[in-house]
Structure formats: structure tokens, C-alpha cells
Symmetry: C2
Subunit: 624 residues, 2 copies
Amino acid sequence: MDVPSGTLISDAARQAGVELLVPCGGQGRCGRCAVIVEAGEVRSRPTQRLSPEDVASGYVLACQTQIEADATITIPPQEKIERRIREGKRASAVELPFPYDFQDQPLHKYIVNLAPPSLEEQTDDWSRLKRELANRYNLTDVQVSLAVLAKLGKALRDGNWVVTVVVDLNTWDRPEGPPRLLDVLPGESLESLWAVAIDIGTTSNVVWLVDMVSGQVVAQAVDYNGQIARGEDVISRIIYAGKGDGLRELQELVVGTLNRLLGQVCAERDISPHEVYRAVVSGNTTMIHLLTAISPEPIRLMPFIPVVNEMPPFEAREIGLGINGQATVDCLPGIGSYVGADITAGVISSGMCRAQDLVLFLDIGTNGEMALGDCTWLIACACSAGPAFEGAGVVHGMRATEGAIEEVWVNSDDYEATYRVIGTVKPRGLCGSGLISLLGEMFAAGVIDKSGNIDLTLPTRRVREGAHGAEYVVAWASESAHGQDIALTAVDIDNLMRAKAAIYAGFSVLARSVGLSIADIGQVYIGGAFGQYLNVEKAVLIGMLPDMPYERYRFLGNTSVRGAYYALISNHVRREMTRVGRMMTYLELSADNTFFEEFNAAMFLPHTDEAQFPSVASLMRRSA
Amino acid sequence: MDVPSGTLISDAARQAGVELLVPCGGQGRCGRCAVIVEAGEVRSRPTQRLSPEDVASGYVLACQTQIEADATITIPPQEKIERRIREGKRASAVELPFPYDFQDQPLHKYIVNLAPPSLEEQTDDWSRLKRELANRYNLTDVQVSLAVLAKLGKALRDGNWVVTVVVDLNTWDRPEGPPRLLDVLPGESLESLWAVAIDIGTTSNVVWLVDMVSGQVVAQAVDYNGQIARGEDVISRIIYAGKGDGLRELQELVVGTLNRLLGQVCAERDISPHEVYRAVVSGNTTMIHLLTAISPEPIRLMPFIPVVNEMPPFEAREIGLGINGQATVDCLPGIGSYVGADITAGVISSGMCRAQDLVLFLDIGTNGEMALGDCTWLIACACSAGPAFEGAGVVHGMRATEGAIEEVWVNSDDYEATYRVIGTVKPRGLCGSGLISLLGEMFAAGVIDKSGNIDLTLPTRRVREGAHGAEYVVAWASESAHGQDIALTAVDIDNLMRAKAAIYAGFSVLARSVGLSIADIGQVYIGGAFGQYLNVEKAVLIGMLPDMPYERYRFLGNTSVRGAYYALISNHVRREMTRVGRMMTYLELSADNTFFEEFNAAMFLPHTDEAQFPSVASLMRRSA
């Protein structure tokens, strides 16, 4: 067919009777109208919805691309686009190359070949082993527990005075500190050596099994934190821990979850959990307190002080962690009550602490935690965003599991909604990324105004007075899994506004506290599982993230478990964590008067100060 | 009444119609004929049966004292003599002055006054405490367990940021090693600080409660080792430990005994066992292995190697010891499989390791353990004397409890026996000191010959062919608690001969191994509970102890628990133990060919080589 030069591919397609999906109304924001230009000349606006690989393969967005001359255009099957969008988003997570020397790991195996005792040479077993460890491997002052001594006599004799010992050099902890003997095995068995990196999120727990011989992650497992049923956020967990046996119960719940995950990763490699000799644990400060059954009570009470930021290493058996009982459990250092080890791990594993540019590191989970700085200084804070982005405090909110609407498009012409659901099921509710997407789309389409008020005068039945006040219906009862309308209410919107305002106010206060502005930020690193599915454009649209070119955003995935993994295979990195944890300034926002000013200023869409969101202002002008 | 000058008081008394008890037949050996010379002139032979205090008070032995001129003599009530003899024997135990600086103890309390945190000063609790311990008390790199961290937050707040901390400086272990924080208590509480010294004997366990503020022992308790029912000697315990759950069961039994004793001493001072923050443990090598559930199996198998001589310190909770869970348990160092920490403790607490003279240290328990040396060198060995002296392997043998015959006299004229029983009850059997006494008396009276053969031709019905062969009846059925004759059989005598020969052979081999002879020994120190009740004269008579002037013998009582106590209050002493333990040469007698020669030579009464026992030879000539 023929069209005038300059015709959008989407228009041309419609004219040709081919209905392309354009849920965003042709604004280039959803990426669902991607097509392949097989040949010919076209002119495209730049878009974030396509990866460089996509562009190289000929993908363009039909709604953003004009036909200049004869062109052959293929419309890929819809499933392929869906997959591309999902995978593309995941692929945007940066693979961080491990920047240190792997040989620096603390866990080692050594073969020890002993001269047998005799009636004339009566040295006891332990002294005999110590002597040889000192002579052969220069390991002096080796520490040992009763449990390992209890295995020693038999192992030496079964191995005919040849044994393999597992030693934790423990050098990160105290550089001149003594090595610890973790196990003694009869004969020679150098073939394997295992450890785990653990991330304890308020919501999700992750375990990575690490082959310490190769330094590679060989199995992963993730599950919900078993504590969830006892409170969705850290504050409710702390309150639960303060009642009766709550503290011990919460410890058992999280250890139970971890042990299940440990069982999974070990089963995957067909090893026994008792062969796992070290665990490095990351997590927020409350999670680390609960893991170790140290009351987190002071964390929630003025002036919000944790009992311990730098947890001393302990043995796995002390908390019932289902790996080798003598294995060292090393919790990464936190910075304060609401900026925990997960942030230290993120700052280190993201490489932020080596950046020349000013970097904003952001981890949005149940709390919004963030750090600002570069290779010379770091400052961190946490804003209680609340659990809205995790689906709590929102009528139809839910976690990002099967049945959650994770992305929404609202057509600015007829205010109709299209959405994408996790899994091939009917929708049950909205997860965090879905909520951000919906809020942004409603704002862009004019369903809500700058204050977040729903315009009840719009000519659509999706906008209405519901049981909870004004609301916008995303999915009708007939489409949903539970046969009820899925809607976003005015109260929900207020909660989301507060959450996004708290996060943005956090950035502002951090920057102001060091005499900088958000505009000075060179890069934004986004960690945390939530960050992986976050639609940055929509987050900017609602004023949750700073308005800056998308290429300055980097999605790093779970930087917390990655940091734990790095610390596991490198003493150097582990020491760096302690150094960075100590050097990082912790800003307690409750102590900062400017926070509430900034918070109130951010209680608009995108912000009271529109100058901070030029791209949004320009978009709104275009839509208007 | 009038008697010629030179008449023995005992003869004069008989002439006066006063029947003095002279169970030993007037040989000056039993001390039961003690009388008081109120005035007048008498001439006494020197005797060991009276203490210098007794002599100063006018006591003499009636059978050894001639009346020279007019004299007034009082016969004290029999009970008073009995008591004097018993107490006199105890008093002969030397009170060892503690020769070191008490301020050198490892356990301390400190008051820490902290600046409270605020929204501006967000240091976590543990860092806050560490900082102050470093600034105020120069305690750096303090180690802490999860259990203490779990108390920290509440203690700091309950104490309004003033706390008392209990710290184990741990300096004996590694001189530059880190101190350990054992407890944190709200407010100021310096008034008390408790620790315990423990001796784990194969037969008896002893606990001393020590007030670490004054350095004094304030309560003591003793009881049988709960393991006894699972085997009388270390070998049978080791065998038991090797079967099924035997090792764990034996651990629980001894810990159960210790916990009962700990409960007793704490109840006596009205304190909680949780206020006890350190335990130093002495005991033989098998007992230390069983306490820590480390299999002692290699101890009984060629070449007789223990798993560990220098047990690393551990926390009380690790073995379920009922004191503060974080309290350090410090087992004193042993030297070899059969020369344990009890001997190290004895060598140190006796002062032997500082002696200028050649000292023989001897601890006769279930095993005979001994050390020879002075301040420059030490050599030790153990001879498996067997449990004969503890009453096992002897038909009417029993432990030294109520109803045990502990001393015997056999009249050399009519072969009649007199005896003393522990407690005011009828006799049930013979304990170790009773057996030695009986064997010596039988030999001195001619009931047995040099080879230990009973002379069945003697004109007394006490000598007879019994169910177990030839035997000598000590107590008739009518006198005994169980209505049976108490007798010593030929088989019993053989067992006792083997036991005493093994011990003496031990001395000989030790001395010969360093090119000395027994005659070179300047002092004999006798430790162990058994030593306290040992009649040296009788032991020399049977050739169990070397024949030397009695004043060269010193009874030191329980040197094992005393050594533990010294180590508890003095790091200096504790370090000395390790130094001495390492410097001491361990002679494994199984590896020594001369042992069996010496053993065979000692299988006579007193010995094949009579020249080694001149006083016995002279006594026998007198009796003959």
C-alpha cells in the first residue's frame, strides 16, 4: 500500500486494516506497538522501550516511526513482543563484573599429612595437627571448637594420619586474627568447597549457593520471608517481636525459610547442607536483629538506635541455620536503624563507592533506602515510604505475584485501560509497578490532576463514586479472577502520593544536606527486586524518581545478595564493606526539619516545583 | 602409785588397773595410747603419731614414754583421742600459701557510663559501648556473643546508659588475645563476682566457689562422679563411651554431678549459678575428654594418644554446665593420656616446679600418677595401679565412706585385729588406707611373708582356708554391718601387691630414666584425696612408698582443685601451667622395658632389694 511520506507506521497499519495494539494511545510509552522494519527508510524518535539490540534487529515503535520511503515492515506475533518487553526489561539489569582478586577468599581446604604417633612420640592429636598446620601452611594459633575436636581423633585414624581440613582464615574480621578450623575430614578431599550468600528482605529471602573452588554461583533459590504472616513491614515485625515469645518466633520463622532455601540449593547440586562452611548475610537492620534474636525494639523508638550495626561473626549452630554447625555466619555491616547491610552491600556491589560522578543509589522495598555520594564520600537515609508499593494499604494492592497487574496504559482519548498481568491468569489486583504505572497513566491521561484528585466529570464509567469514595476502575469484574472490579480509590492515591513524596523528599534532603541539588546527580542506581520491574518513565511522571535522561538510570537487580556474594569470595570486598559502612554518614530524617517541607512540596504530580520535572512538563503540554 | 624410773607409762597404767588401748601392740605405730603429762619428768621416743602442737600440749604416747621421776598423767577420753588422731592427720596436710599476685586474675567487672544517643548522635549500642570500653578502660577489640548482645539494648536503657560489664580478659590464652564481654547488667553492681574451681576425679568431683572480689574460696562441695555406675576406672569408662550413645551419656552424668554441686555451693552463698562467670577445670585426661564429649577411645589403644592435652577454652553452655552460659570454661592442660591436668595442677600448686631439691609428686587415685623433678626439669608417668586402693578388685573392698575400715592394727603376739571405722557405724568393708594398713600390719605381725603368702600354721582362727583360698579375718560376722566376716584373701593380697609394686616401679623407672635413684629424692609430695588418709608408715612397710624419714613427706590434700583455684585467680599461674605442661616429659611406661623388671622386683614385701627399705628391715629385725 501507499502512504504519504511522514506517515506513522501505526497510522499506515490502521489504514491497511491491521489493528496494532497501542495501549498508551500512541505516546511511545508502552512499547507494545513494536514492529520490524525489514527494509526501506523510516525515521524514529528515540525510545527507551527498545533496547540497542532491538534497534539493531530493526525494531521500531510503530507509533513513533514515520515512513520516509518504500519500506517492508513485519508485525511480529504478539507473544513475541510480550516476551521481548519482559526480557528486555530484565536484560536492562546490568551484569556487574566482579572487580577484585578471587584468590582473596577466607575459606580454604588444606591436606595435612601427619607423622603417626608412637610410644616414643606421644604428642596429642590436636597438637600434632596444629604443629603441621603451622609448619606446612604457616597457619598459627588456629582456633577450634569442641565439635571439631570431637571429630578429630577418628578422622586422623580413619584417614591413616592424612586429613583434609576446612579453615576459615577469618582475615577480614581482624587482620591479625586467628584462623578457625571448621572441619576435619579423613583422607584427601579437595574437590569441593561450598558457601552461601543470603539476602533477608522484609518480604523475600534469597539464597545463592557458591562453589568456592570456582568462585561461581551455582544455584539460587528465593521465597517469601516466613515472618510475613506476623507483619508486613519492619515496624509491625518489631512490635510483634516485643510480645511474649515473638522475638524467638520471628527468628525461627526466618531461619525456617532460609533452611528450606538452603535445602533447595543443596539438593540442586546434590550436596549436604553440612558441606556448606560459610554464610554471608545481607539484609536490613531489623532483619539482622531478628535473625540473631536481638530485640529490635530500640529501632522503632526515639531516637531510633539499633543494638548493633556491625554484628560480630557467629557460628551457624547458634541460630539453628541448617548448614555446617561450625560455619561462620558473617552479617554484613549496617549503617543505622533504617539503612542496613543491604544498602552497604548495594553501595559496594554497584561500584558506587568507586564512582567519579555523583551517584544516587536507591533501594525501594518496604522502605525507601538511598545513598548519595561518590568515591570520596557517602551519605544515606531512609524514608518510610510505607508498604504501598508492595501492595499494602491499597484496596486492590497485592505483591508482585501471579495475577498482579504490573503495567497499565490509559488511553487519553477515551480513558479506557489496558494492562499486563503477571502470568497467564486473570488479574487479582495491582502490584507496585502496576500502581506506579497506573498513577502515571491516570495523570498523563488527565484522569487525575496535579493534586491527585480524580476528575469525576470525565465521560467514562471507569471514573465513579465507589464505596471508598472516588475511584477509577482498571479491570471490570468480568475480567478479574475474583469477579470484582479492580479499582484505584482516592485513598489509595493519597497513600501512593505519600509514598512517592517521601522517596523524592529523601533525595532532596540528602542532596541539600551536602549542598547539592538533584540536578547534580550523574547516575541513579536502582537496586532491589522491585527496581527490576519498575517503569522509570512512569516513576518520573509521578515525581517519584528524578527527571533525568533515562540512560542515567541503571537497574542493578538484587544488589544486596550480590554484595553478600562478593564479600564471600573476597576478603578485600568484605573489608571494604566495613570501611564504607563506617565512613557513610547516616541522616536520620526524623531529625531533619527540611524533610517535611520537601515532603509537602513533593505531594503534587509530579512536584510543586515543575522546573524539577521538565520532561513531564513538556509531555503534559503535548498531551494538553 | 610408784613405779621404777624407766617404766613405760603404758605398763604403769596396766599395773594401776587402767586398761589403755594399744592396738599396735605397743610399737608406737597407732597413736591410740596418747596421754597427757600434766607435770613431772618423762622421756619419750620421737613419734610421727603426735603433731608438734600435741607435744607442746603435753601429749605423749604411753607405749613410747618412760617415767623418769614423779609425774601427773591424765588419760583423755577415748573420743578425744580418736578426734585428735583424725584431725591431726588432716592438719598434717600443708596449707600452701598462694605465692602470686592476686590482681592478675582474668575476670573483671567495669562500670561504664555512656553518653545517651540522640537523633543527631546515632551510634549503635554496641559501638557506643565498645568505644567507651576502649577510651575508659583501654579494652580494645572486645569480643561478644549473640546472647550478650541480646541483653545489651535493654540493659543500657534500663540502666539509663550506665551499665556494669563482666569481662574476661582472657590474657592467659593468647597474651595479645581479645577480651570477651560475658555479661552486661543495668546500673552499677560491683559488689560481687563469682567463679568456680572444679576437680573431676574418676571417683569424686569437687567444686569450690570463689569470691573473685576477695580471691577467697567461700564454699565447697564434693560428691561421687555420676559416671561411677558406668565403670569404676578410666578404662571401663572409655569402653562404655565407645558403645552407642555412651559418650554423650557419660558427659551428661558428670555434668549432672557438677551442676548439683554448683547448685549446692551457690545455694550456700545465696547466689544464682548464672552469676558464676568462669570455671577452671582440672582432672585426668579421660575425664576432660568425657566432659567435652570428645571420644577418649585412642587413650586406651596403642600407642595411647589423647585427642587433646591443651583443651581450648569454651563457653559453659556448650556442655550444659549450669553456670552463666557465656562463662569461659578453662580446662587445665594435661601432659599425656595417663598424666592429666590434675598432675599439672598438682605440680604447680605444690610448688614443686619451684623446688631446689629433687621432689617426687605422687597422686594415688584410681591410677597412680607421679612426677619427678625440680625447678629446672620435670618428668611424669602413670602406672596402672588399678582400682585396688579404691576398694575394687578386693572381695571386701569399698570406697572410703561410712562403714569402711580405714585403719587396722594386728597384734604381733596373738594376731588379733583392732580397727577404726569411718563414722560411728559397724564396718562393711575395707577402704584403701585400711587395706594398706592391714597389709602392713599382717606383714609386721608375721601373718604374711615377704611374698605375701598367708601363714596358715599360725595359732589363730583368724587365719583360715576360705571360699576364696587362704584368708585373714579382720572383723567377725558379729561385729560387721552385714553379718558376714570381713576378710582379706590371698587373691586380694595379690592384687594389692601388684598395685603397690606398680607404684613403686613407677618411682624407680622415673628416677632411673634420668640417671637418679630413689635415694636422691629430697621430698615426697602426696596429693589426691586418698593421700590425705594414707598412713605413710604402713605404706613404707609394704614397699609402696620409698623408705625415707617421714618428715620428707608432705600431704597436700586435693592439689588438683587447688591448682584450678590458683589458675582461676592468677593468669600468671595459668600461664605457668601451660609452660610446665609443655616442658614436662611424659614417660609412657608401656614403652619402657625396665618397668617390668622394676615391677617384678617390687612384688615382694617391702621389696626384693631390702637395702632400699632400711627402716622396714630394722623393724622386722626388732619384731623377730
